[in-house]
């Protein structure tokens, strides 16, 4: 039983980190209707930039600040150079453009900073904590707490500020944002900037956990089922979806994996997500577009 609980809790903690990446998606999706596949390469890019500067002996906070500046710059550049010309194009074209973009970011980041695996030490101790009979990784706990704080901060930011209200308004009607006094383009840049910041945090946490390496980009493939389950348009959905995917994934890996004789982690969350979709075609919290005829 304690093993079950341990697996479950470990999964939930990993899930919070999935939520973090998923929220980056949701923000961009709500603001510009783009499913941004390049989010994964942004995570990698952030991790690589940070770790390269740390390796050169640059101070932790300074490195963080520089990386943040670079990420926001990239995000804004992407919005200008790629998305603006593609406005009003079909969703799938936008998606493929961000995929092409991810090649560019990954290629350049690796040219500039190398492709080897870098250790990243954030100074978080990683001795397991024992509560009753259950052991929990301290690192996971801290990472999840950080992610959790960020998630809450973002929800507050997007629920209570003018930007947040504008964001909700444009999801219904692109012109509505103007009535709140924020230019659509400014809004996009803010959102993309925030997404850059989110990828920095995600890049650091994931990078510290499994090393900064190319595989970091694959975190998008984990965030996708999270989004399907939660709905593309809901921050709450991203959080709930992350927890569901995190927990069910690690349980399935142990219990279903042994049954089928192999790792099921590549597909389990996707199949689960399709199951959710069959019941709720736009995710748990996503809003269905109203089609009037």
């Amino acid at each position: 039983m304690s093993f079950f609980v341990e697996t479950f809790i470990g999964g939930l903690l990993a899930g919070v980190m999935y939520s973090l990446v998923a929220i980056g998606f949701v923000l961009i999706y709500k603001a510009s209707g783009v499913f941004n596949f390049a989010q994964g390469s942004m995570v990698l890019c952030a991790g690589l930039t940070f770790v390269t500067m740390r390796d050169r002996g640059i101070d932790f906070w300074l490195a963080g600040l520089i990386t943040l500046t670079i990420m926001v710059a990239i995000a804004i550049a992407v919005e200008r150079v790629v998305l603006r010309p593609l406005v009003n194009r079909p969703q799938i074209t936008l998606f493929m453009a961000t995929l092409g973009l991810s090649f560019v970011i990954e290629g350049i980041a690796q040219i500039a900073m190398g492709a080897s695996v870098h250790e990243l030490d954030l100074g978080i101790v990683d001795t397991p904590i024992t509560v009753g009979e259950v052991q929990v990784s301290q690192f996971d706990l801290v990472a999840a707490a950080t992610a959790g704080v960020l998630v809450i901060a973002l929800s507050i930011f997007f629920n209570w500020t003018r930007v947040g209200i504008a964001l909700r308004a444009i999801a219904d009607d692109p012109l509505a944002a103007r009535s709140i006094g924020i230019r659509l383009q400014t809004l996009w840049q803010i959102v993309w900037g925030v997404a850059g910041f989110v990828s920095l945090v995600a890049g650091l946490l994931w990078g510290a956990r499994q090393g900064v390496q190319f595989a970091l980009t694959l975190v998008v493939l984990k965030a996708l089922p999270v989004l399907i389950i939660g709905g593309f348009t809901s921050i709450t959905g991203a959080i709930v979806g992350g927890l569901i995917v995190g927990a069910s994934d690690s349980l399935a890996e142990i219990y279903l994996g042994s049954l089928l004789g192999g790792s099921v982690s590549t597909w389990f969350s996707y199949v689960l997500a399709v199951g959710f979709l069959l019941v709720r075609p736009t995710g748990l919290f996503g809003d269905a577009p109203i089609e009037r005829i």
Partner: protein
């Protein structure tokens, strides 16, 4: 999903329709004859590394385009369906060696088509991007299945298995020329059937569903059946392409060559080539297959060992991505629309 090039590509809507369509048929025949004669001049490198993968990628793109460009159901499961076709064909070759090769390929395709129908079931309830994501489930499950269970690869110890010999009516097809001609013939036949299909009642059903599914169901079009048929035909074609990829191109059956990157590659091919256009598949496939080869040669020539190969690869990757984005921005309806405009000009000049 509305970047559809049908109007400009399939119909000119002019009074000289018949004259032009004869011209088109004549050109197509000439092109086919030319392609069939290629082995007389091309060396093995061109056949093996350029033409064969180009043709097979065109076929795969055609399969996905039927589903996505015509029926409006986007899918990222192409790699998975290619794998089904490849493994099915391999197992049929292995277990029923007396069947002739064409029958074998077709059966492999049909099996892939049936798997496609199952993978397409969510489309009856889910739309748009949610559907794209759900086809990823099919992609990952299929990839896993073929890696996980040895039965599919006849318990071969290496992770890839070598393909059996290809032969039709006793003619050995394992030379580059033989494999090229087999591929070319398959592509030509499937293309003709696909053109018939998209101009038929079935094609109209698909395009109606794509353009406005609610209206389609209100005027009595069987929407659910139409979607599933699209998944069937599409996966059938993609399955055949997968079998060719394994047998006529790689010479091995390996699940790793049918991964998500393959699915992305196929989707790039049709978006860059032109959705809802038959000719777009060839243009898009050419782009996706030739561009990396070109970048490779250019990179080799320019830097020629001056920088390390890993860096060169990263550079190519970045450049490739940038070019893709650039084409997506510049040519909303795909390269085929561009060619079609040129062709219309040419044809009108020809008639004068």
């Amino acid at each position: 999903m509305t970047a559809i090039g049908t109007d400009t590509i399939e119909g000119f809507g002019s009074t000289d329709e018949t004259a032009r369509s004869w011209l088109r048929i004549a050109l197509a025949v000439a092109l086919l004859a030319g392609l069939a004669a290629v082995p007389l001049v091309a060396n093995d490198y061109w056949l093996n590394a350029v033409l064969i993968p180009f043709l097979i990628m065109s076929l795969t793109a055609l399969g996905l385009n039927l589903l996505m460009g015509y029926a409006g159901q986007a899918s990222l499961g192409s790699g998975g369906f290619m794998a089904v076709g490849a493994y099915a064909t391999y197992n049929i070759l292995l277990r029923l060696p007396e069947l002739p090769l064409p029958v074998n390929l077709l059966l492999g395709g049909v099996i892939s088509g049936l798997v496609g129908v199952i993978a397409g079931l969510p489309s009856l309830r889910i739309k748009g991007f949610y559907l794209v994501a759900s086809t990823l489930a099919a992609q990952f499950v299929l990839e896993w299945l073929f890696n996980q269970y040895g039965w599919f690869s006849n318990y071969s110890t290496s992770s890839s298995i070598s393909a059996p010999r290809l032969a039709i009516l006793g003619h050995d097809l394992s030379s580059p020329t033989g494999r090229y001609l087999l591929t070319l013939a398959t592509v030509a036949i499937v293309t003709v059937v696909a053109i018939r299909l998209v101009r038929s009642q079935t094609g109209r059903t698909w395009m109606a569903i794509r353009d406005m599914d609610t209206a389609a169901s209100v005027i009595g079009i069987p929407v659910a059946a139409g979607k599933l048929k699209a998944f069937f035909v599409s996966s059938l074609v993609i399955g055949i392409a997968g079998a060719l990829w394994a047998f006529a191109y790689l010479g091995t059956v390996d699940a790793r060559s049918f991964n998500l990157d393959r699915s992305f590659q196929v989707m790039f091919a049709i978006i860059i080539g032109g959705m809802g256009s038959i000719s777009g598949n060839y243009v898009g496939a050419a782009f996706m297959i030739l561009l990396p080869i070109l970048l490779d040669h250019v990179g080799g020539a320019v830097f020629g060992g001056a920088i390390d190969p890993g860096q060169l690869e990263n550079l190519q990757k970045a450049l490739f991505g940038a070019l893709i984005v650039w084409f997506l921005i510049k040519e909303p309806r795909g390269l085929a629309a561009l060619l079609s405009r040129a062709w219309t000009q040419l044809a009108s000049r020809f008639e004068r």
